[in-house]
Symmetry: C2
Subunit: 259 residues, 2 copies
Amino acid sequence: METVRSSAMPAYQRIAAAYRGMIMSGELRPDDRLPTEHEIADRFGVVRQTVRTGLGILVTEGLIVARRPHGYFVRRREHMVYRPQEKSRPRPATPEMDRFSQQIVAEGRTPHQAIEVSLVQAAPDLAQRLGIAAGETVVARRRVRFINGEPTNINDSHFPIDLVKDSEIMSPAYLPRGTDQVLADLGYRQDRAIDEIFIRMPTPEEIHRLSLGPGTPVAAHYDTGYTAAGQPVQCTLNVLPGDRHKIVFERHWQGEPAG
Amino acid sequence: METVRSSAMPAYQRIAAAYRGMIMSGELRPDDRLPTEHEIADRFGVVRQTVRTGLGILVTEGLIVARRPHGYFVRRREHMVYRPQEKSRPRPATPEMDRFSQQIVAEGRTPHQAIEVSLVQAAPDLAQRLGIAAGETVVARRRVRFINGEPTNINDSHFPIDLVKDSEIMSPAYLPRGTDQVLADLGYRQDRAIDEIFIRMPTPEEIHRLSLGPGTPVAAHYDTGYTAAGQPVQCTLNVLPGDRHKIVFERHWQGEPAG
DNA sequence: TCATCTACATTGACTAGACAATGTAGATGT
DNA sequence: ACATCTACATTGTCTAGTCAATGTAGATGA
């Protein structure tokens, strides 16, 4: 078999680089269709499998999606603004919607939530953040939030069971006040929170809950809230698909000017 | 060819799920070796290519790495703590190291930086953040930061050229004071900053500069600083590989208690 | 007209190989 | 003892196909 090795790069990488370049430069625009695997194979003088390897790279990079039997398309991406700081800003005393819904409605879009409450044993990482022993029971209030009917992010709140038993938090109903306010009404008002953000690929469960396409990294945002006395009262895991969010916050300089 | 279809899931996904499970559960620990492709193929009754597809998923998920000719190994991951808030905290008047180096040394590790200064035309996204027209000249101070000899993150600062020409910022030397202080000395003290974080897969250039393995998502953190008068004076792009960082910040509740 | 069926193009999954590239361990030579 | 070479196991790249799954457009039928 005679193979013309036109460059040092393997063929599948040259194919990926070629179409990546066209997308990055704007020559191929969102929703544009790529040639079929067969056409690309002919063009580059390789078999279909090699083309699939190359396009697979762009799929895992999140640049294109495959829609059988239509072909590959350049992916469209728009980012929802995620503002972790807003969570600790004051709100009206009797809100009609939680913060997330407020923001989405303000943007002229339609929010929707699927809520599920369960009792689970705390995994080690969660237990550590809540200051309890691994395996102790916590209340998990698991939510998938939708915008315009599309799943957009995961918001799984966890509470030590002693704090919230027999409270509204145990009910899988929508709480317009927000769970922070319910906690405050129970005497556990949060005063301070630590935010941790990890960047990683999603787990299969997250892929399923969020209907994620391949090649979509996520931000896992742990928000752990403490009372003024320093007691941890909730730990929330927000999972934000990278193709649908940008995280925004603001800083103001502190202390005396150094200049 | 007789194929036993033991489940609805494709073979390559069953293979990925099997080893993902062993890693997640701790049965396979960091630096442990997986069986060879050939062994796995025999075990699952498929050909090597199918095994490669399955293990390829775990590689892109960042769970394993291939080391030829040794085999596949469970990836070890430790996260450097990245605190965007620290940037706006006061520091001693005459520091010997910048914040990054200070933190690394405090952790008992060895920092190192490769700095490169150039004049570039502002790309549209950068121009918008700096409040200038796309294509205008900006000073780019591009750095790759190393810990214990390993590239750890990218820190590319950009300044409108009018603000910094003929200043120390134009020199590709290490500035212990930090560029923020140099800007302040030039009369552009920052008072407020907006942080934007995007989650995505790295570009080939970022993969090269950071020696990233496949399957490593990154956080792209844009830090745009403003003077008290509201003038943007710098925009820095930090690229943080997901396998090496966690982003941490803290919040304190503001306004009158709502409970 | 409207619904239903069918052929088709395209991606998805997989087989059965071949040869290349690469670090290491063991053999060899001085 | 030390350096050098070589065989080898393993992953990397690629060929040349087969059959399955899927959504649509066009053909068919009432």
